[in-house]
């Protein structure tokens, strides 16, 4: 049976790890390496690392940095941030990442997805969509939530149907960093609209939030703030979800 995944998300900007709320008020909290090592020691299901500065400042992607991270991990690692062409995508995978995350580049050239997947295979591509609710409808934003692309989420999903990719990471800007719960309505609507796996992102505040997200159609849950700022851990999440009957990968049976 396929297991639900719990995925810690790390945002990197200007030399270190940042945490924000609604994609704003970014606080630099520590550097990335200690968390990578701890998550690896904890044998998490997967890790997502997003280099925010690449997109905002059109910074070139640092392949040495990616290798340095990959060196420390025995579990899958997704990297994103400023990827706009297939050479970068190829080099990132060659440097040790297992999947690449595309976001802002899609609004200028949606076909980049197929260009890259022809080379790397569709399954290595994660489409990251950040949305805000405006007048009860969801709209897509790029550049770390700063640019309104003026496209309705479902129109965007429709456009995406011509492209070959692996899964979607769906983030609610309104909920991000609030620890107030995922946007369950968003997950439910998108899940019934498309048939690719969805990673829910933005708003996890408790293990129960993660359970609900999975119940509402997510295949995996991503979380940043709660794992960094509170005593909640991926293992704790697994223990809780297992009790609730969700199929979860081993690694939670430890006592504490």
């Amino acid at each position: 049976m396929l297991k639900a995944r719990i995925i810690p998300t790390l945002l990197r900007k200007e030399l270190g790890l940042v945490k924000g709320k609604n994609f704003k008020d970014l606080r630099r909290v520590t550097d990335v390496m200690p968390l990578i090592k701890i998550y690896n020691a904890r044998d998490v299901d997967e890790i997502i690392l997003l280099d925010i500065e690449n997109t905002i400042k059109s910074k070139p992607i640092n392949m040495n940095f990616i290798s340095g991270i990959a060196k420390e991990l025995n579990v899958p690692f997704c990297y994103g941030g400023g990827i706009t062409n297939f050479i970068d995508a190829k080099n990132i995978l060659y440097s040790g990442a297992d999947k690449i995350v595309l976001n802002s580049a899609l609004y200028d050239n949606l076909n980049i997805i197929n260009e890259i997947s022809n080379y790397t295979g569709a399954q290595s591509i994660v489409i990251s969509i950040d949305v805000k609710k405006i007048d009860k409808k969801y709209y897509c934003f790029s550049h770390c939530g700063s640019k309104n692309r003026n496209i309705n989420l479902f129109d965007f999903l429709q456009n995406l149907s011509s492209q070959k990719f692996g899964e979607i990471i769906l983030c609610s800007i309104d909920k991000e960093g609030t620890m107030d719960g995922y946007d369950l309505n968003l997950i439910k609507e998108v899940s019934s609209h498309i048939n690719v796996p969805i990673i829910a992102s933005g708003g996890a505040g408790s293990y129960e939030d993660m359970f609900k997200a999975l119940e509402f159609g997510a295949s995996a849950v991503a979380a940043g703030t709660i794992f960094h700022f509170t005593e909640l851990t991926p293992s704790g999440a697994k223990r809780y979800l297992h009790k609730k009957g969700i199929n979860i990968r081993d690694g939670f049976k430890f006592e504490y």
Binding site: G16, R28, L35, R42, T230
Partner: protein, 381 residues
């Protein structure tokens, strides 16, 4: 890229540090805001806390706990408590590699105050130092945890109602200040305690420790703490916390500073309780491009002890030096106690070095000066 505050010399690379559009850091802003605080009002709030604690106090018990490491701040905290009519119990969570001068200053406090000294067994603590060095690039993780957990454990076990910590870091250095920023609790500790994500549960589940070996590092059940009405607060929230003033006060009460200049620092009365400080502060340089000299020069500039120009000079001279020794103890000896060789140490250093801010050769390797010092691409000056 490293950018320095235009007023002090703090860098934008420091966690929680933010430079505004005029290039002034949040710590400098905080310092200015402190002058506008109604300290009289704050003093009254503090007195209320004391009264509450005394009201709930059990018979024949101390009024409060002062967490101490043997440094100047804890000495000052103890005597300030006394000034307010409190009968404190000093809880010394000894540092991981207690220095001779640190020991002397702990003994000095013992002259005037009842003291409990807790020393986690060296065998376990050294393993923790080694793991936290290798995994987090922070040798001092056990200390970061113990300074919170041990005083609170004692408070819980002895039912002492008040714990007085010193500086409130968000006030002093920057970071979100919230309505409950006067209180130190589990929530605060998780967010601001500097644990870099490593938890006791990780040590038990993934690093082969037994729970009974980690007792000094376990935070007591918060429900119990609340039921007993035990509260930990920061003195820095209620009074104008000042390094110079604290040093003056503690010096007058017998606190001694180190007799020579301290490797990598500007003053000889701070960070003298632990031989591992040199390594701890060096890793700040590797990760963020600044170290103790920057920190010290920054508050010295804010408190008008030196000018910015003098601060810049001190940083250029002292910041980021490879820690060949600290307080006279050689790096080799400090590392030997935690079973790490110099080669292993250097490998760990490289792993945590942010290569984007230092000079590297064509092959991507760090360029080091003769004394092992790394060269910043841009020191921000």
């Amino acid at each position: 890229m490293i950018i320095r505050c235009k007023r002090c010399v703090a860098t934008n690379s420091r966690p929680e540090q933010v430079l505004d559009k005029d290039g002034i850091c949040n710590a400098c802003h905080s310092f200015v805001k402190k002058k506008l605080i109604n300290w009289k009002e704050k003093k009254e709030l503090f007195i209320k806390e004391i009264e509450e604690a005394k009201k709930n106090k059990t018979k024949d018990n101390w009024d409060c706990i002062i967490p101490s490491s043997g440094g100047k701040d804890s000495t000052a905290q103890a005597f300030i408590a006394k000034e307010y009519g409190l009968n404190p119990l000093i809880v010394t969570a000894t540092t991981c590699d207690l220095s001779d001068i640190g020991k002397k200053n702990i003994e000095n406090l013992k002259k005037s105050f009842d003291t409990i000294e807790i020393s986690p067994q060296k065998k376990i603590r050294s393993r923790l130092n080694k793991i936290s060095l290798e995994t987090l690039g922070d040798i001092s993780w056990p200390e970061h945890v113990a300074i919170f957990t041990q005083p609170i454990q004692i408070a819980s076990k002895l039912d002492i109602k008040l714990i007085l910590y010193g500086e409130q870091p968000q006030f002093e250095y920057g970071g979100p200040v919230r309505s409950n920023s006067n209180v130190m609790n589990r929530e605060w500790m998780e967010e601001f305690g500097g644990f870099l994500g490593l938890r006791v549960s990780d040590l038990i589940n993934h690093y082969d420790f037994k729970r009974e070996e980690l007792l000094p590092y376990i935070f007591p059940d918060e429900k119990l703490i609340n039921e007993k009405k035990i509260k930990a607060i920061f003195l820095g929230f209620y009074m104008d916390w000042n390094n110079e003033k604290n040093f003056s006060l503690s010096k007058s009460k017998g606190f001694e500073s180190f007799k020579s200049s301290i490797e990598g620092g500007n003053v000889s009365y701070e960070k003298i309780d632990n031989y591992q400080h040199g390594i701890h502060d060096y890793f700040k340089f590797l990760k963020y491009g600044f170290s103790r000299s920057t920190d010290q020069a920054s508050w010295m500039i804010r408190q008008n002890i030196i000018t910015r120009e003098e601060g810049v000079k001190l940083v250029k001279e002292n910041d980021g030096k490879y820690p060949l020794s600290y307080l006279g103890k050689k790096l080799f000896d400090i590392l030997k106690e935690i079973d790490v060789t110099i080669d292993e140490f250097n490998e760990i250093c490289d792993k945590f070095t942010n290569k984007e801010i230092f000079k590297c050769n064509q092959a991507g390797e760090l360029i080091k000066e003769d004394d092992g010092k790394l060269i910043l691409l841009d020191d921000g000056f």
